[in-house]
Amino acid sequence: MMIEEYVREVLNKGRRIDGRRFDEYRKIIVEKDIIEKAEGSARVKLGNTEVIAGVKLNVLKPFPDTPEEGVLIVNAEFLPIAHEEYEPGPPGEDEIELARVVDRAIRESKAIKLEELCIEPSEKVWGVFIDITVINDDGNLMDAACLAATAALEVTKIPKYEEDKIIRGEYQGKLPLRAKPVIVTVAKYGRRFLVDLKKEEEEIIDTKVSIGVFDGKVCAIQKQGQGYISLRDIETILELALRKSQELKKVI
């Protein structure tokens, strides 16, 4: 309780507990290609929040309605190491929501040229598995997760495929990409709009909107939390998200 009151007090005074401006991200560190066994990978640190995304490619049967397109699967796991309240077990609603919103940002921006991932129409296409694992949760997992996923895709290579077999460790080229989507999550506290909440801030702020952005366009929106925004907030939120997305794009 004490911490929650302190966070509120600081916010009410127009400041944040770590001294940042309301529209300021924590220090972002992106490291790519950190897992040799993955076809692509990246670690993202947003302050103390740490997320690793790994991309694995596998040969799959395509969906019947898109017989010549690769398949994208995004999965998220909040590892039990990442926070004392995380327990092992099947994915919870927060993990599923995070994975599905990142999935939409990547899918709707057409970030991956899935149409170039066909091996044999109706029979074999590449499946792109993006696994997002949270190593330490100090808030704003959504933005960190999308950064990590996009950064990992940037360095993903397609394995060689010969005589119906994947040759792991040897590659035929890069994964063909079209866009670099990022997600900016804008929170509302009183009449103020914040980005990049720390965990302590998330405990007391229950209204957030995640906006997926690429090339100046919006590709995903997800309002979160048990609060509401006003109709007139919508433009403010969109503008803030579009502005901050420029910054995020640069760090990838």
Partner: protein
């Protein structure tokens, strides 16, 4: 594939509607006798039944919080879709349950029921697009009928972009082939937005335009909701 299917011909949608025309909407309350509150909402062929049980004391004790815990479960009946859906909660249902919970919670006076739980169930009887907003409307009515104290009703609709045209209330084939679709809910008397989801590609200006259309539509639906409630007390 999205966007390649011809969905608007001579200014009319495949089911004959104009771009900003809703499907036929039907709303009924008290459709599940055992429930504390319940409602049926139909948008064209999309049918949702919602029922509310509670608030009741939450057990075991160590799970109690100092405000009402709202549990929402959205699911689709096996025969509600073209290809039979096997029973059980899939990832999509889990996400939508959370989204609907977050759409309803801002309207509920949670502080009035510490240590209690409220169960809201949304069953999609038939699915032809816009199931989450249809279900949200039904759940909001069911809450009201259950006598749960609320700041306002929650009213929801969908809006999307098909064949470069902005349309209201997407049906199934439009949803599957849209350039963008947006789910939206608000407390109409206060202009408070409680559900906002989008996938697709849109500019900021398009979004603003769609929000205007959606909020106008919600106000009409709001009148229908109020009428359905009043009807029950006639």
């Amino acid at each position: 594939m999205k966007g390649n299917v011809e969905l608007i011909i001579d200014g009319k949608r495949l089911d004959g509607r104009k771009p900003l025309e809703m499907r036929e909407v039907e709303m009924k309350v008290n459709v599940v006798r055992n429930a504390d509150g319940s409602a049926y909402v139909r948008f064209g062929k999309t049918i949702a039944i919602a029922a509310v049980y509670g608030p009741t004391i939450l057990l075991p004790k160590h799970l109690q919080e100092d405000k009402l815990l709202v549990k929402v479960r959205y699911s689709m009946l096996p025969f509600s879709v073209d290809e039979r859906k096997s029973p059980g909660h899939d990832r999509r249902s889990i996400e939508l349950s959370k989204v609907i919970k977050n759409a309803l919670a801002p309207a509920i006076m949670l502080d009035e029921y510490p240590r209690a739980v409220l169960k809201v169930y949304v069953e999609i009887i038939q699915a032809d697009g816009s199931t989450r907003v249809t279900g949200t409307n039904a759940a909001s009515l069911a809450l009201a009928m259950a006598g749960v104290p609320m700041k306002d009703l929650v009213t929801a609709c969908s809006v999307g972009k098909i064949n470069d045209t902005i349309v209201l209330d997407l049906n199934g084939i439009e949803d599957n082939n849209s350039q963008a679709d947006m789910a939206f809910a608000m407390m109409p008397s206060k202009n408070r937005v409680t559900l906002w989801q989008m996938d697709g590609q849109l500019t900021k200006e398009e979004i603003k335009k769609m929000i205007k259309i959606a909020s106008d539509a919600c106000k009409k639906l709001y009148d229908m909701q109020k009428k359905a409630i009043r009807g029950a007390f006639k």
